[in-house]
Symmetry: C3
Subunit: 651 residues, 3 copies
């Protein structure tokens, strides 16, 4: 069953409003309330002087009204007095400039001092509230990675990076080998000679870059793990979550996900649209509904990160403040996004925020209530969702999908370190593949190389740059067929070209050998001939040598007739970064090949299922027909679905 | 009567040229000459060693020839020896990098040392020349704000900012309240914990930003005031001016204007066009004549800043050097701009510069003379103006207009601190409103919230973000009707959303309540239905609740039928950042509503009046008919006005 | 005769591959191998501890197989231990940030310590290998100027700059005069007051900028010269070269060229196309063949820099890694570029690199071999060239051309210091003029102002901003006619406008006087009437006064009828930065005027000659007819030339 919640900041409102707010939340149908994640300076206004009383009271009021409290550790915002005492807490940007106090996330993950302090405040908070009857869950910190804060170029980071390298490589010779320091005479005689990869004359070794990302990712994991361990010790039985950001790949979310009980994420589709992959005309088309696939992509991704458990910690309730432009969603979208989340396996949707705050940075960010406490549009839509929920069958869980998309953080970092072509975007590629499958009405799970492959009929690997041998072996043994995109298998863990050419270990599945790669500007067009149709190819092209069956060929002036898609019974390899119609053709064929049932192109409609429940969402501008059988029972909406409409049925 | 002048740098030319230059200036019809504003290193080449003799002589030569000297204090360019002795004079940029000596304006307004030194040299200069018979006016410093020099992030600025905050807020609790530091736990325990708002992890509190701007503006005011006080003490009866830049809003010009006798500004329409608000096709159309409204806008604005008295200190005499491209104005434009200035109330136009300098940074900047002293085009046009002036009735003053546009610096800073949408430009909005009125043949005054409202029939407030209660009360009592643009009244002085929603205090005039705002990218189009016509709306849209009459509505997919323009007998509120045809319709209707007579759209023609004189200027590419009565007497030009033409008549 | 070679890095490959590689090189037809230029850390892994044995052995293996070794000094990559010992070696960027170790070229040319160290390692290397029988040539350092490394803003650079200024100007008064410090009171009392021209409030004096460039250029010259002197002392009879970059004008290549025996350069036409002057549609057209004129331009330029001797040290053998996009050249282009080089006077073409390296920064850069040692496309094409070479007449040298283009580094720096218009590109202008001549089938030499003018019929001076009197005098006495482009003669050596207006000393050749200049944005179009045809003019326009014959006039709204091209029997002056059809018309006429035979527009075909050999290259997409006489003997290709085709014949 879908539960609803809201983010609330008692410290920002007069004491006399708390009861009224809490009662109104319950009345609206909310079950959860998140608090506390930026409250350090209120809890400990000066060194060692704790003011718990207001927080005690806030929890009492909220809990007493019937709400389950999610308590955030306040480490995303260390107080000024702390930063002034220990300036080595502050992060340093890539230009070498200290990033000052005055907003949030002003800490370096490698600061030893900050680790101590973050541990100290977490310990204090967990000790005080761990057994509090109203505290039902915990959130660590807030949005790791927001404002580009994973990477810090401080002295503390340098020190920690050298230690990390020493642990990884054991000998400096091994580092020299991995980084390829015989190139340009970058040779190191000791780990203490290594620098952080900023402010260099030219780009550093790609292995240097990727190792710095891996190191930084590990710092996040251990920072988070320290808090989780403390919370679990003091607050057994309460799930711990962290609220991730959409599509952030600055650290390995799978690895941080291992240490928490539920993955949650923050859903802001309006800014997601404007910052996203779509062409300007598509952005205009979806202006007030967002990219139809971006929220679903992240629900599915974080369901994987949370090993099946996923929440929405912050759902946009109206226009926000932080994008280049901040358009209003269409009326009805808050409801639609809530049902979309539920359909994709989300069990709790919490809105950000209860009431629009009339001061400080985010005062243009809508809430469920206007600043004067009148209900805003979002409030009305939440009330509708709460009402509709009552009519639905209970207890439905999302089933495992037949199709899995592989999202490998290590591979992302590989393309970041060696992009090779400015037009190639790994983020856009992943979302394009996901979107293509979704438009064909097929549900998807995300997986990592560590994931169980059981039951998948088709694995899609858009750009598994660094494939590990164990994964390839498991894939080989699984019943899944697999479609590899360009760049797959093109680097080793050391960021080298595999011996015997790419795709390295994937050669065990398919006999291809990549003899040449090239990246192309957007204004140049290559074409592919696939089954008598000609398609536009992408901005990345490879020349492959193969003994496999050729399914499609390049067509044009350069190496006309060269294979563009080849395959055998187990695996296919696509030699271009396909988009649009070509990608749809490739994936549609692959679904058929793998025996996965699909629909014809849904256009702006999306359908998905959770247990027995079937869902349809209309992101278009005209009424659409829902692909439900005659005998379907509609619980919400109906067969004819207006724009911004939601239909839920059982068959 | 219009007086003419020129900027001259005796220190840049051999002594033997001075007499000849001075005589030629007089012969050309010039009455004024500005000198001295970058001459510190010549006056005091080493510490305490003053070389006045050359300046004495220059003043003697120029004054002796019959010219009135405007003497500039040389504080815009401290000498190298001074900077080397006191490096804390230097400003620091937003990245934290010291801005070095080698050009000009290399000082921090908060440097205590520089205050002393600027006072010292001003005192010395005023003491020496205060009673000089040839010195008829003074200029303080030069172009405050040029090269982004209002904001400095030095230690001196930090120290002064903290003191300023302590004075403003008295207690740090009050600062915490105003800045909203309960948000993101930005809480301060003392004023000494506050940082400058640069190099933060994320944007600071908008109140933090606006306070830093207010502080910086106050620093300019007190820096300028110190010089004015010294000059007035030594040189009674001589007016003091400062030459402002066009459309700079980095500090409050009204406030600096209070301390001087005449506002002057520097007129460079060619660069103004290229850097300005117009679309590329309009820039191409006006390539050699400039934006028709940008110079007039600034004449009218600085007439207000100078409380009725306005000069042009620097008039572009041909192509310049500092823009991205430096096109030549059409032949005739120097004359046209001079007459335009006079028409808009300017009493003295000084050209920059006498002779093109063959060395250093500005050698591509035209003068009235070529480097070899031949007359350039501008010289010939000045001669024409001087001749034409003789035939005009004397003593005409510009009358107060019926329409006032409110330009509030504090509100500008509010939109800068919280832009909320990248497409919204307060600068373009103000100029668009001005231009729209001008195209309808209506004269305009600029006002601030401090201004007398007597006699205005219509007040236009394009975006009075922060309205003060006293102004609203005076406006209510005045006979003026008022048209408010979107965002009006949307913030308090503390940069909060007003209690009870925007437009806060303006609700006293009109019953509207802004329930939602949104900003839109340029590629998205909203439309408005206004009197059966459909118009394109702007990049900012508001949802308003109102009991007032609805004059126009939004029309389209999102909240179709929502009010776009509402009003009562006193006030109207426009819920979109209108441009183009919609803005013209709104303003045209408002003029009629307020009983202000207007003409139909003048296209590329502009008309205005100064006392009994009527002026028309043709910025177009074809001959135009001047809207003069049959009986008009033409003093300059005639009824048929060729491109680049000027007509002056009485009726 | 054309010799072939390759760049090889024994330190990057297992010892057991060396013999096989060496033998295969010989078998392929290669005569030269370049090694050693980044090997410092391998040669001297810790202070004073030299490991020559591997290099001894590598030279033995390569030389023993029959290859001539070009040995590079390893100074482009100082080891980490050296940088850690002496951090003042590191360069500082224009923001003032130290550029760290981790890539290459991490040294400041002004570091005294680095001069000593570079000298020490060069001495050691030259002493050891100077008389080695296999070492046939030397290369100093590698690609001076790559990664923007000519300009360093370190303390060492400041110190050296002040000394350089003291030497240049002798007295600070003279510097004050030259820099025009009476402008903005920038006056200096001593050389020690002068700063480097970075992080200023506004742009510094243009003379300050140009002097800093001149100084930096001189630092490169003396740095290089020190190595050359050492090598010549130890290795008499072996030519010394340096591998320049295409179109780099950060230092004076003519001056560095004086000190070496052969100029070489590195040929990367794919990135050259994408970064280059052409419009997007032309870039799309030439996507896989590159700008037809960019390689030839540089061959001709470096032939001049090398005073007749020019090599290609690095020839792109396939796609590379460093451009924004890295497209593959068409199959056949490696062969075409090799023959093009030979045709333009290159005597040795060395490919970069032997085998694609599977690690570090350049792993996406193709080699002649794939990483697994299979032959890549380039290998096959080199084999074809080697075979074709056998059939050609031997001993042909390129003759002096009839037409010379003047490329003056000092003038380039002048337009960089005072661009005056963002649309004007001196680099594009030079290449446009070269390309226009080439399309008319006419061979070109590049010259500097120092060059011998004997035998030229036409000198083209696209923008000789700073003309020296001696050159003008020699030009006057020569038999050559001359066409000057806009901006010619517009500055003195001090970066002043010449007395009596531009074109200063050129007035001795042609009676023109530039009364006004203007720069225009690309969206504005001026037109020129030339012999009854109307042409689009360029982004730079001048108003000239002249008594010479007017050959073409401006045509349009602004100064209609003003001269656009004027001339007498000796010289012509073009008052606009002409491009495209106008430039072709101007140059075509000038060729006729000078009695130089030309062809009609060749389109995508290029023809040139080396001694008796005639060459044609087809850069187009369709088969073209070669302009060979009936009786021609074809040695390579034939009369009908397919795309990517090469024809070589004698007549």
């Amino acid at each position: 069953m879908l539960e609803l919640g809201v983010c609330y900041y008692p410290e920002q409102w007069p004491r006399e409003k708390w009861e009224q707010d809490a009662n109104r939340m319950v009345e609206l149908g909310l079950a959860w309330v998140r608090i506390g994640e930026f409250a350090w300076a209120r809890i400990e206004p000066s060194p060692g002087e704790f003011h718990w009383e207001w927080l005690d009271e806030a929890i009492d009021v909220l809990g007493g009204a019937g709400l389950k409290v999610i308590l955030g550790t306040p480490t995303a915002a260390p107080p000024k007095w702390l930063v002034d005492r220990h300036p080595d807490i502050l992060p340093v940007d890539a230009r070498g400039v200290v990033r000052k106090f005055g907003a949030r996330r002003h800490y370096c993950f490698s600061s030893r001092r900050y680790r101590e302090e973050a541990t100290r405040i977490t310990e204090a908070m967990a000790a005080r509230y761990g057994e509090n009857a109203y505290v039902h869950a915990w959130q660590t910190d807030n949005e790791y990675g927001d404002h580009d804060t994973i990477y810090s170029y401080s002295d503390e980071a340098l020190r920690a990076f050298r230690l990390w390298l020493a642990e990884r490589y054991e000998t400096v010779d091994e580092l020299n080998r991995a980084w390829g320091t015989s190139f340009w005479a970058m040779h190191y005689n000791s780990f203490d000679e290594v620098e952080l990869p900023n402010n260099l004359v030219e780009e550093p070794s790609p292995t240097h870059i990727v190792d710095f990302i891996r190191f930084s990712s590990d710092q996040v994991k251990s920072f988070n793990r320290a808090q989780v361990d403390i919370i679990r010790a003091h607050s057994p039985g309460r799930p711990v979550t962290h609220n991730f950001m959409s599509q952030n790949t600055d650290f390995d979310h799978h690895k941080v996900g291992e240490d928490i009980d539920i993955a949650s994420w923050d859903v802001y589709p309006m800014g997601g649209l404007l910052n996203g992959r779509l062409a300007v005309e598509d952005k205009a088309h979806y202006m007030r509904v967002g990219d139809p696939d971006q929220p679903a992509f992240n629900h599915d991704l974080y369901r994987s990160v949370g090993r099946g458990r996923v929440w929405v910690m912050e759902q946009q309730p109206g226009p926000v403040n932080w994008a280049a432009h901040n358009q209003s969603p269409a009326d009805g979208m808050v409801r639609l996004w809530t049902w979309l989340a539920y359909a994709h396996g989300v069990d709790m949707v919490s809105y950000f925020r209860w009431r629009q705050v009339p001061f400080a940075q985010e005062q243009f960010h809508a809430g469920l209530l206007l600043p004067n406490s009148e209900a805003d549009q979002g409030y009305l839509e939440v009330a509708q969702v709460a009402e509709e929920m009552k009519g639905l069958p209970k207890g439905e869980r999302r089933d495992k999908a037949q199709v899995a998309i592989l999202l490998d953080y290590n591979s992302r970092w590989a393309t970041r370190a060696l992009p090779q072509g400015r037009s190639y975007s790994a983020a856009a590629t992943a979302l394009d593949w996901y979107s293509t499958v979704s438009r064909l009405g097929v549900d998807v799970d995300f997986i990592g190389q560590h994931s169980d492959l059981d039951g998948y009929q088709l694995v899609l690997a858009p750009d598994l740059v660094i494939a590990d041998a164990a994964f390839v072996e498991r894939l080989a043994k699984s019943g899944a067929k697999v479609l590899f995109g360009a760049r797959s298998g093109s680097k080793t863990e050391d960021m080298h070209i595999p011996e015997g050419l790419p795709p390295g270990p994937l050669s065990a599945l398919i006999d291809v050998s990549i003899a040449r790669v090239e990246s192309l500007p957007d204004f140049h067009k290559e074409t592919v001939l696939y089954g008598n149709e000609t398609f536009e190819a992408g901005v990345w092209r490879e020349t492959i040598r193969t003994s496999e069956m050729v399914l499609a060929t390049f067509d044009g002036e350069y190496r006309n007739g060269a294979p563009a898609l080849v395959g055998n019974d187990k695996a296919r390899y696509l030699a271009t970064a396909a988009r649009g119609a070509l990608l749809q053709k490739v994936i549609d064929d692959a679904l058929g090949w793998a025996g996965v049932e699909s629909l014809s192109d849904l256009g702006d409609l999306r359908v998905t299922r959770r247990g027995r429940l079937r869902f349809a969402f209309n992101f278009g501008k005209t009424t659409a027909e829902v692909p439900a059988p005659e005998a379907a029972t509609f619980h919400v909406g109906g067969r004819r679905l207006a724009p911004v409409g939601v239909a839920i049925w059982t068959e």
